[in-house]
Every structure is written in structure tokens, then in C-alpha cells.
Amino acid sequence: MLLRGLSWLVAFQLAGTALNVLFFPVIPGPILGLVLLFIYLMVRGGVNEPINEAASSLLRYLPLLLVPPAIGVMAHVADIKADFWAITGSLVISLLVSIVFIGWLMQVLIKRQARKKGGV
């Protein structure tokens, strides 16, 4: 079962790579594979067990798989030092302001939808 699901995921990734070369050079292959799999699930109307099993097994270890590429930050110590305050300032301010804006927007939109439904 696990093997069959993994084969599907690999097949979608390879299809994504083909699409990347053929039509969408700016969108990474794995992302196109993700979109293809999403469309497949929509058309199918559900997640079959092999894909579900393989996906949850892989996603459980996602942080581990990200460790090797993340270690590359070793090469960027100078870049971080040069822009330390710009990075810290923009990350912190933008995330705090955005959280408030998004929370407020969602709350307003949900209340409006509820009012509309109540009015009909």
C-alpha cells in the first residue's frame, strides 16, 4: 500500500517536472506536481488509501527532509549580519500588523455573510 502511494507521488512529481519544462518554467516542478495531485483529488472526489498513507507518512517527516537544504544558511552569515536590523524589523512588524489585519478582515466578512443569510 505504502509503495503504491509513493509511486503515485513520484509519478505526480515527474509529471510536474515535465510541465515545468514544457509550459511553466518559473513554477518549480514539485509545486506543479502538487497542483496536479490536487486536481486529481478534486476530480476523483476523495483521497484513496494508498495516497493517503504515503502522504501522511512523508509529511510526518517533512521537517527532517528540510534539514539538509536549511543547513545551507551557513553560507549566508555575512548576508544576515549586513541586514540584521532590516530583516528583524520587517519580519516582526509585518507579521504583527498582518495578523491583526487578517483576523479583522475574516471576522468582518463572516459576520457580513451571517447577516445576509439571516436577512433572507
Partner: protein, 238 residues
Amino acid sequence: MTLEWHAALDAVIHHPLFFVGLTLGVYQLAVAAYDKTRWIFLQPLLISMVALISVLLLLGIDYADYKKGTGLLSMILGPATVALAVPLYLNIRRVRQVLWPTLITLFVGGLFATVLGVALAWFFGAETMILKTIAPKSVTSPIAMLVAEEIGGAASLAAVFVMITGIIGAMFGVELLRILRITHPAAQGMALGIIAHGIGTARALQESEEAGAFAALAMSVMGVLTAVLMPLAVALIA
């Protein structure tokens, strides 16, 4: 009889599986530390990074060698990224009733967060490479790293920005929203999921099941929207 200690050590360090073994070991220690303490700072990815970089520096090993030695793990990253389609599909199905408020908030809010982050970094005088790396800061790490690399930033640095954003967002997000009387579970979930991705989703789940569901959805959709639209937008501007 003298044992060939040096030869044995040498053979172990230069074995093709050495770096995979080292990474697996360090990662499991980091997960154990997180499980034991539940401290939000002890994100396994972040702790593994710090520990492994220290080891590599100590042993005087180049990143290029380490990267080559962990190709096995990197190879599985592609299918794992494809697998993100499954939670995306399941989450979208769960919140069909409020689909429009959700999608509008995702699009407007996601764009707002992205533009604000880049604009501030630019205003503070950061370099172009840093700007391109900050752009995908609010998305889940695998996608942020792919996107950063695609548009001319640094994948590894993107992982660090993503972690920082996630940790701070998860630490202060809910409290900040509560002070401003934004208490609807869906609103809390969306804010945490869009900004603080996986770490924020875990925090939203502590608030309520509903907040967690919205956070998971927001994180999935935000990731895919960013992955598809950001490279296109950058290609258009440049």
C-alpha cells in the same frame, strides 16, 4: 596488537551514509527535546540546524560535502512536497460553508502580508537578495524554500525567516487578536495559518478545533497560492 582507530574513524566519516546517519540522529534528539519540553522555540528543524551546523564547523566539513552526503533525504523532499496536496484537499472540503469569506481573506490578507514584509525590508535598506528571500516568509518551509530559490533568494535563509515568523506569530498572535477583540475562531485560525503556517496551526489547535481547521486550510492555500503566483508576479515585474 594496535587497533587501527584512525582508519576506522576515517572509514566511518567518509562512508556515503555518514551524513544521513548524523542528520537522522540529531533530528531525533531535537524531536525528543521538543516533545519533552513543548517549548515553541525548540522547533525540531531549527534545533537540528543549530546542532548540525555546530558539528560541521567543529569537524571542519564544507556544506558542499554535507549536501552531497544527504542527497538521499533531499530526493524524498520532492514527493513530500507533492503530498501537501492531500491536506489541502481535505481542508478545503471541511470549510465549504464559509468558502467565500475564507478565499477573500486568504487572497487579500496573503497579498497584504507579503507586500508589507518586502516593502518594510526595502524601506529599511535590505539587499535585493534578502528582499526576495523575505517575500515567501509566511509560507510553509518546503514551499518557501522552493519559491525563494526560484525568484533569486536563498532557500536556506528562507527556512530561517519562515521559522522566526512562525514562532513569533504563534507566540503573540492569539493574545494580540484577543486584546483587539478579534475572537471568532475562524478569524484566529486564518490569521495564524496565513502568517505563521505550521507553527501557527499548532497554536490555533490549542485554542479550538475550529480555529485549527481554519489555520490548516489557510496554511495550505497560502502555500499553493504563493508558490504559483509569486514566481509569475516576479517574472512579470522583472
